[in-house]
Amino acid sequence: MTFKKTLLASVIGAALAATALPATVSAETLRIGYAADPETLDIHEQLSGGMLRFSHLAFDPLVRWTQDFQFEPRLATGWEQLDDTTVRIRLREGVSFHSGNPFTAADVVWTIERLKESPDYRAIFEPIAGAEAVNEHTVDITTDGPYPLLLNLATYIFPMDREYYNGTTDNGQDKAEIVKAGNSFASRNVSGTGPFIVTERRQGVRVEMERFADYWDNDSEGNVSRIVLTPIAENAARVSALLSGGVDFIDAVPPNDLERVRQAQGIDLVEIPGTRIIGFQLNEERVEAFADPRVRQAVAYAINQEGIADRLMRGFASPAAQFSPPGYSGHNPELTPRYDLERAQALMEEAGYADGFSIDMIAPNNRYVNDAQIAQAVANMLARININANLRTMPLAQYWPEYDERTSDMAMIGWHSDTEDSANFFQYLSACFDAETGAGQYNYGGYCNEALDTLVARADGETDLEARNAMLREAEAMLHEDAGFIMLHWQNLAYGAREGVEIAPVVNATDFPYLGDLVIQRD
């Protein structure tokens, strides 16, 4: 009860403060040039960066990540572990949806049930057994077993307006139905609690939003009253749009234009370390030599990650020696890049491959920053240990079908952990492949280390976070020793904005800018 009282007091306090400070009322339009626009308005139809960015505009999550990977309460105001498998979440009061419906625990329960039906989300929400409303503003979430990452998942729970999506449309469609690439009610209509309401949308051309007048977060200093988002996929065109003053804010500034944007008058460049690991996988099933850990280590030693990050990426990447970027639970500070050509050649000789061999190598050419050039550089570096790599690069749409066939000897991949947690990398990229459970779905090479898998599985059932982090750090060390994944770097993120558009405080490593809190200074 005391909790509720303090909450109520703070809400009232915030409301009073907001009325006392007319500065936050100034109206500003933000013109955005993102590389992509949201695919749909149904946030459960597709799990993609564009959709999650949109979710943070039209909706609010229960909790969200801060810049240093802490949880910040949003629609959840507090949480406690009731027992091994139950977490009680207290919800914010006085919040309403765009439709005017009040936000309650029933909406959260409904949203979690819908997530468990979404083809894109149900695998991630597998550990959650169910949710139950205790009262209007309290909800209990239960998991199948002890699960340490419930709050990580809560960053994906953007409560939807249950009443609004209830019932059927005029032609008998269920309003709540999730239809992939279809024309469903939810893909065209939206009601969330977020800071912005969609006012106009033309797919692939423009999305316009206006600030929600009854938005609950009165503490936010954000003063953007209108958003016009134009998707500009072409890098050069996006940068030109910013430099010519056509837009105020762009994402994904390409490395070749970083200097230009940095030097430009009246434009700010904000660069932050990202969390997407870029690397290569060696196909042990096709190349016998790659089953020998010494050969894998030789490959790891032969690649000059710092050279790639410095010269090819022009500093737009942080060289990596493990999956987990700094800030992640399993980041092991002892692991550092290990370029050493002589050591690599010695290892090849020791393994009996001094004369080397030839391999096929594939990489996408429009997925990751400078992907094809990186692959070319790696192929050249491998030539120095007499591995003759025959590189083929292809566009994204053709790359993944090719990747899934696993008919090449070495393949490039980039991975971002959906849970912003270290275990996810291991589960998808290095776990022994198992078609039944879906483990190692992106383990291209058939690398398999059961001791490592057991350790990661144990970590995922450990709710003592300190102990869990130690296990994950050990897992990183094991993988490093075994060279089960050839690490290159974490790709940075770069945004450009007109001076006065203060994006630095609202961007974060997840690449979902919190534009509700964005402040635009008046010139």
Binding site: E39, A237, S240, A241, G246, A397, Y442
Partner: protein, 349 residues
Amino acid sequence: MIAFLTKRLMHALMVMFIISVIAFAIQDNLGDPIQQMVGQSVPESEREALREQFGLNDPFHVQYLRFAGNALTGDFGTSYFYREPALEVIARHLPATLELVFGATLLIVLLSVPIGVYSAIKPRSPISRFFMGASIIGISIPVFLTAILLIQVFSIGVTVTLFPQGTAWGSWLNAALSTSGGMPSFGRGHDLVHVFGHWETNLASLDGLKHLVLPSVALASIMLPLFIRLIRAEMMEVLQSEYVKFARAKGIGVRRIYFIHALKNTMLPVITVGGVQIGTMVAYTILTETVFQWPGMGLMFLDAINRADIPLIVAYLMIVGVIFVVTNTLVDLIYGLVNPTVKLTGKPA
């Protein structure tokens, strides 16, 4: 005339049929559309279910017959990305492209005819030499680069500090060569005027016209040099011909000879080439629209390829096939009007 048009209609249908078969045959190489629809961590079982749902697992002939059956009823499939019928999507993007092509064509006609004619009449004048030189450069610069240069100069602006700022002539030259930019560099703008149906026009407002300028210039830059040289060459040839010499001998005024007698005959081959080139221009819009984020068919098509949006790709290719047939038919009709000795049905005159 009716026989001619019927024949062309048959051509169009045949072109659409062949394109659709080819497009279907290569669709496996265009990529996996499911990959674009789901998150990276979505398990294979979910993907398989979606593949089944969209009928992507059926053999080629089953998929093609299903498509052809629907196409006969006017249904060309539903775009995976736009979640709308493919024809609807194309209809929405078509006006933007047509206006862009119109703008570029207008520039080409207005510039190439006077420049071409002038440099044919006065081949040795410095102005002619300048235009001939410039057209060589223009032909060899790819449209992508032209577009980026235009954006840099007219949208972003350039500051020239090459000459000594302290001297009067230096600062004057610097100022003269610097530009302040300000032209819109992307999109069609917000000030579009709705005409009817899906047609919203850029041509009816100042802001709309401003947005149209740079993309039109970039698109025109590919064809303009070609037309200048073509008109010049044809005109020079015509000026050597017997009837022009005879007209001169008769004492007809030079203006009348140049602009009535010679120009008319010059334009015959130009119209043929022009018709074909306008069709090609529709293809070049892909590059121009990409750089200027012009929301027309070209940009839509490139996005569709990147997303493996197969229904939209197939429909687009078929529509472009039809556009080619239609422009060629129009060219033939115009040709018949300009040159009455040509019979459309192909029988000897």
